[in-house]
């Protein structure tokens, strides 16, 4: 990360600046003390999924001089997380808490932020509002853009045009990934379909394997997913000899033959920015959201499953997204025949955050 410039000297300078400028906002005197970042994960750090994506980014932060990273994994979304965070603050002197699971926010992060106004809290989902404490905040990436790229590559790499999607729950963020995957696939294969199976749980490996097998049995020759840990889906699909696209983190090592590419977060961009700002004694933004245009997501390097056409098409799609070219271009119908999107939607349009339908071309039902 070229824009990190955190040395002990710059920390000291920042400290001196903090002393000089007593008018700095409350809490920023923290910049004098060494920066300790406490990160809480809901699952294991090596889950080939959501938690690993965060953990990979933390490894980058750990190399930054003056930054100490403390981590705790398998912390449930109950008062256990309040306690872990509070323990990081009280026993380890953490001054920035990164709470990486959706259910950590309310009430746990919000209540602790009120209790410890000198500690900064950032949470990985778009939940912060003006009504919440100023020392809390959200960061979020629109991963559906990378799923769109997956779709573009999958549409080109799939002989049959029948794609499969193993999804956890029919909530907006998942539906958006499925729909974007379909729209991407239709860029390279206008007849492509995406068959979806919802497992109903974020982590239910047995059902994920069953769903993968069912999709392959139904004729799908590219499988992707949106579950917490895509390992089972990718490995099962690889075992059945079909191609795969990944989700959350890199699953390339799991599928040496069939891996095409995968939708990955790039949390390091956000975390480095936080570390940088704290070292300078500047306030952290309360809300950060992004996608391809600001380097917050990425696609896994192409695997053996990607054909030359798929690679060319996906590279072009990435260039389009960096230029903020829209994914959702109306008129689009849902798979019950109702028009759901009339015109062009900006990729960050909040209307898309409330998505409650599957587009025409997706085989499956959210109920």
């Amino acid at each position: 990360m070229s824009h990190i410039n955190l040395s002990r000297r710059s920390l000291l300078k920042a400290g001196a600046a903090g002393l000089a400028a007593a008018a700095l906002p409350v809490g920023w005197a923290q910049a004098q003390s060494p920066l300790t970042i406490g990160t809480v994960y809901v699952g294991p750090r090596d889950d080939f999924g959501w938690n690993q994506a965060h953990s990979v980014a933390m490894e980058i932060l750990k190399k930054v001089p003056g930054v100490t990273v403390i981590e705790e994994e398998n912390v449930a979304e109950t008062d256990a997380v309040s306690q872990s965070m509070e323990s990081m603050i009280n026993l380890d002197g953490a001054n920035l808490i990164l709470a990486t699971s959706f259910g950590y926010y309310s009430p746990f992060v919000v209540e602790l932020a009120k209790k410890y106004p000198d500690v900064e809290f950032r949470h990985a989902a778009p939940l912060w509002t003006d009504a919440d404490p100023a020392n809390a905040g959200s960061y979020f990436c629109y991963l559906n853009q990378a799923h769109y790229v997956d779709g573009v590559a999958a549409g080109a790499a799939s002989p049959s045009g029948k794609l499969g999607f193993v999804a956890a729950k029919p909530i907006p963020s998942v539906l958006s990934n499925i729909n974007s995957f379909l729209l991407g696939a239709r860029k390279t294969n206008p007849n492509a379909t995406v068959q979806v199976i919802f497992t109903g749980e974020w982590s239910m490996p047995v059902r994920e394997a069953e769903a993968t097998n069912a999709l392959v049995d139904a004729g799908c020759d590219v499988i992707t997913c949106h579950v917490d840990g895509p390992k089972v889906v990718v490995e099962t699909a690889e075992g059945r000899g079909v191609k795969t696209c990944g989700h959350n983190a890199s699953q390339a090592p799991l599928a040496p033959n069939g891996f095409i590419t995968g939708a990955e977060y790039k949390w390091a961009t956000i975390y480095s920015m936080y570390a940088d700002l704290l070292a300078k004694g500047e306030p952290l933004p309360n809300f950060v959201a992004g996608g391809y245009h600001n380097d917050m997501i990425q696609n896994t390097p192409y695997g053996a499953g990607a054909t030359p056409e798929a690679i060319a098409a996906a590279d072009a799609a990435i260039a389009d997204l960096v230029a903020k070219k829209p994914i959702y271009v109306g008129p689009l119908k849902d798979n019950a025949g109702n028009v759901v999107i009339e015109g062009e939607m900006d990729n960050y349009d909040p209307v898309l955050d409330g998505m409650s339908y599957l587009l025409e071309g997706v085989v499956g039902s959210i109920t």
Binding site: E73, T78, D79, A80, S87, L91, D92, P107, P172, G200
Partner: protein, 368 residues
């Protein structure tokens, strides 16, 4: 219980009781020390310092008022789920469905809160109705397992476990459907009860009232099981069902009642999870407290009073587990390994009861 055979004089009976108590303390303490030694070997094998580890466990579990409060708070649901296993165990039933009962209790409490909160009902009344709804629903649920066992011959371990999965599915069904707060887009939840209706901490601490409720429940159930005819009849049934039936004890009633009590305990834990922790019901209620409660009850040898310190020990291990992860860079599973070792060693130590001469010597001479 082999208290005082008729030939033992009164003063002897007292000293026998003291010896029994000493044995009941001595055996688990030795087992804990043995577990610590075995675990130290494990740590040495993986190249970590046992001294650092146990120092961190102390710091994180009990070392400061902050740590202690964390341990107590984590113990709160475990006391109640521990009781949910211990009470049926006294009557010979192995009920492992507290997880689902807790979830169902939480859902019922949250559902009961919806009309009361929107109608502006007084806070204490709301809490009472929420708690009653939780205890009734969960009591019914585990009661079902007891009923199936006695009247239909269905193995209660299997049925309670399966009922647990059904309870979780019911919670998901309602939380994602009829009871869903439309604002909870990406994490389906019921309507929040709001700050005004949240149960706060015990004054002067960060520990919520569920801990106090757990202790009261443990004491009450100890009295019930040890000092009443109901408890005596239940324990007798647990010892020998046939004998109990031959004596004319209402075995079916006793079994179902013990199960209902167990369910009510788990439901109460669910109520506190909703009213004190989450403020709403959602999938976060499925946190494993019900299953940890089984370990707690086993280690407490199904004694309601012993459930309290064991739950606190487990709470402390969980609280300290985070610190161990952070300071020593060890995986979360480390503390699970320690818990597993403690569990196995404590169960194995059961065979020591009655075999250490020191604690038995007195009786020998008096028995004929």
């Amino acid at each position: 219980m082999t208290v005082a055979s008729p030939s033992v004089p009164i003063h002897r009976a007292t000293s026998v009781r003291t010896l029994k108590l000493a044995e009941a303390i001595f055996v688990p303490v030795v087992a804990l020390i043995a577990s610590a030694l075995i675990f130290s070997l494990f740590l040495l094998v993986i190249g970590q310092s046992p001294l650092d580890f146990f120092a961190l466990i102390w710091t994180g579990g009990f070392g400061s008022s902050f740590s202690l409060q964390q341990s107590l708070q984590r113990a709160a649901p475990l006391i109640l789920t521990g009781l949910a296993f211990a009470i049926p165990a006294r009557i010979g039933l192995t009920i492992i469905g507290a997880e689902g009962a807790l979830v169902l209790g939480g859902l019922s409490a949250a559902a009961m809160a919806i009309p009361l909160v929107s109608g502006g009902a007084p806070v204490p009344i709301t809490w009472i109705f929420m708690a009653l709804a939780a205890m009734a629903a969960s009591g019914f649920w585990i009661g079902l397992a007891g009923w199936l066992r006695h009247y239909r011959g269905v193995n209660e371990t299997i049925s309670s476990l399966l009922l647990s999965y059904i309870a979780i599915a019911i919670m998901n069904f309602f939380v994602e459907g009829a009871l869903r707060d439309p604002a909870s887009a990406n994490k389906p939840s019921t309507m929040p009860i709001g700050d005004a209706y949240r149960i706060g901490a015990i004054p002067g601490t960060d520990v919520h009232w569920g801990f106090a409720a757990g202790i009261l429940a443990a004491i009450a159930l100890w009295v019930l099981m040890s000092r009443t005819t109901f408890g005596f009849a239940a324990r007798m049934t647990g010892g020998n069902v046939r004998a109990a039936q031959a004596q004319g004890l209402p075995v079916g009633f006793l079994m179902v009642t013990c199960c209902v009590i167990a369910g009510a305990c788990a439901g109460l834990a669910g109520f506190f999870e909703v009213a004190a922790i989450h403020g709403q019901a959602n999938a976060s209620l499925v946190a494993g407290y019900g299953f940890t409660g089984i370990l707690v009850a086993f280690l407490a040898r199904h004694n309601p009073l012993m459930v309290i310190p064991i739950a606190i020990l487990f709470g402390a291990l969980a609280a300290a587990g985070g610190l161990v992860q952070r300071r020593m860079g060890m995986p979360d599973a480390t503390v699970l390994v320690l818990q597993g070792i403690i569990f196995v060693v404590l169960l194995a130590s059961d065979t020591l009861y009655g075999r250490i001469k020191f604690f038995q010597a007195d009786l020998r001479g008096d028995r004929t």
